[in-house]
Amino acid sequence: MSRTTSDLLYLVTIVTFIVALRFLSRPDKARLGNWIGAAGMLLAIGVTLAKSEVVSYLWIFVGMGIGGGFGAVAARRVKMTAMPQMVALFNGVGGGAAALISWAEFHNRAPAPGNLKLDISLAIMLSALIGSISFAGSLVAFAKLQELVRGRPITYPGQQLGNGLVFGIAVAAGITIAAGGEEQWLMWALLALGSLFGVLFVLPIGGADMPVVISLLNAFTGIAAAATGFELENNVLIVSGALVGASGTLLTVLMGRAMNRSITNVLFGAFGQVSAGTAAAASSDGGTVRSAGAEDVAVMLAYAHKVVFVPGYGLAVAQAQHDVRQLADLLEEKGVEVSYAIHPVAGRMPGHMNVLLAEANVPYPQLKEMEEANPEFGRTDVVLVVGANDVVNPDARNNEGSPIYGMPILNVDQAQAVVVLKRSMNPGFAGIENPLFFNPKTVMLFGDAKESIDKLIEDVKGL
């Protein structure tokens, strides 16, 4: 196939990707859009296989079988509640592939002197560096979300200096490559240090900041793919990478804004250190915690006029979304007005709660975003907080010493009564005390969220 023909067909792929993203702004067309994008991807693969440069096929198909098989099985089997780690994983492998391609390009093109022009070597270095950071960083994010490593911030002395040093040396190796360095060990150093930096940079970030990290890593892989496009002089890679990069960047900014923190603060802010100091001292000044039984809570709910559910990551962990929906339906039958208040950074990725509640078929009109939900709390009888913590922490409003001070929250404490479903009194992933639990309006319902909700369903039915 001639270069002109293949480039024209790649253009069709580009169009399908843009259409896919456009359709994503409409729930009813989004699924069709995804298939259009997939068809475009298939076309691009076919076109590439038909290129005259591609002469051996067997091992390409073997590799596709292994990778595609793994991807299909993993994507089919994963529970909806485990989506964030799955997204992190697929993001990581994409970044890894981009880094590997750059390695191969450098390995094959560098030995002939003058073969690498400045822009190509620059693209190789960027794609290798960003791709390896994204690969290793995403795997750590995956491990954290899968609870293979602690979700809490992991900090150690001299962390920022150490991380900065690793990144600095990686960039130095990259600049040497860009400046014409053609020794192979430069690339090995770049990839190794990039991966190391990816690990070091995600490790200290707490679970609550995951939405920002995952969006950012998504942007990284996009940028790495675009850089790969420059080294292969391939438009479809450049455009697709740029689209993903733009999307990831936009989401990162949105998430940062929702937390009222700059991106640098999320990434490099010593979250753990502040919370260990002033915040804990300021907020846990006595106060008692009231706990209640499911029967009492059931009565509160059944005789309320308006009940608002506030879901958080705990809902995902307990996989209680179907039970919550069932309880909400039951309450609605009893004439209670039910809605869900969704904080933009609730959960572990942008829009996480929306996906979970969608799985449980919660009707759209009941889902309220923060701006819509907050004015309503004043006339709400009972708020049921299911596995959310930081996003309802009044310290964000009142306590200047708190690490989350200034983050817009759901003002659940303005409701008549608050019921918090929680496993125990342990602080949340961010490790911050929550004075909401000590508020006289609040009662705690301890236990696994799913079991508690099931008990509530039984008790409400019995009324």
């Binding site: 792929t13 896919a20 993203l21 994503l24 729930p27 009813d28 699924r31 995804n34 994008g37 991807m41 693969i45 590439t48 296989l49 591609v54 002469v55 091992w59 590799g63 292994i66 990778g67 793994f70 991807g71 299909a72 993993a74 089919r76 909806m80 989506m83 799955m86 997204v87 697929f90 492998v93 890894g96 592939a97 391609i101 390009e105 390995h107 094959n108 995952i214 998504n218 996009g222 793919a225 790969t228 292969l232 002089e233 391939n234 479809v236 890679l237 455009v239 990478g241 740029a242 689209l243 993903v244 990069g245 733009a246 999307s247 936009l250 929306n354 799985e359 078929n361 009707p363 759209y364």
Partner: protein, 113 residues
């Protein structure tokens, strides 16, 4: 086309694509942010094009072979996994439509899983 011209041409495409990306994606509602992220995840699986070019080239040495093979595996996991996961997410968003329009034929909520 000279190398310099090609580069300028590619940069033009890059810049336009970035603006297009911001334009298209800022229209996506919060409701669909997770599928958006997952969908863009699938799209960057396009690096499979590069992986195929590396692996399909003739006369490559062992190291290139190994790197290329790994790249093909990773990229195809990205492509297939990305599109399948996104489809599963969007399927759930689609199923809820009947509740807004009760006249639809498949209006019953699906069985609990």
């Amino acid at each position: 086309m000279s190398h310099g011209q090609l580069l300028v041409f590619e940069l033009t495409i890059l810049v336009l694509a970035i603006f297009l990306g911001f334009e298209v994606i800022s229209k996506v509602p919060t409701l669909l942010h997770t599928p958006l992220m997952s969908g863009t995840n699938a799209i960057h699986g396009i690096v499979i094009v590069g992986a195929i070019l590396v692996m399909g080239a003739g006369g490559k040495d062992t190291l290139t072979w190994v790197i290329g093979f790994l790249a093909v595996i990773l990229a195809s996991a990205n492509v297939v996994g990305g599109f399948v996961v996104t489809d599963r997410m969007l399927e759930m968003f689609k199923r809820r439509r009947p509740e807004r329009a009760p006249a639809d034929t498949d209006g019953k909520p699906p069985p609990e899983q």
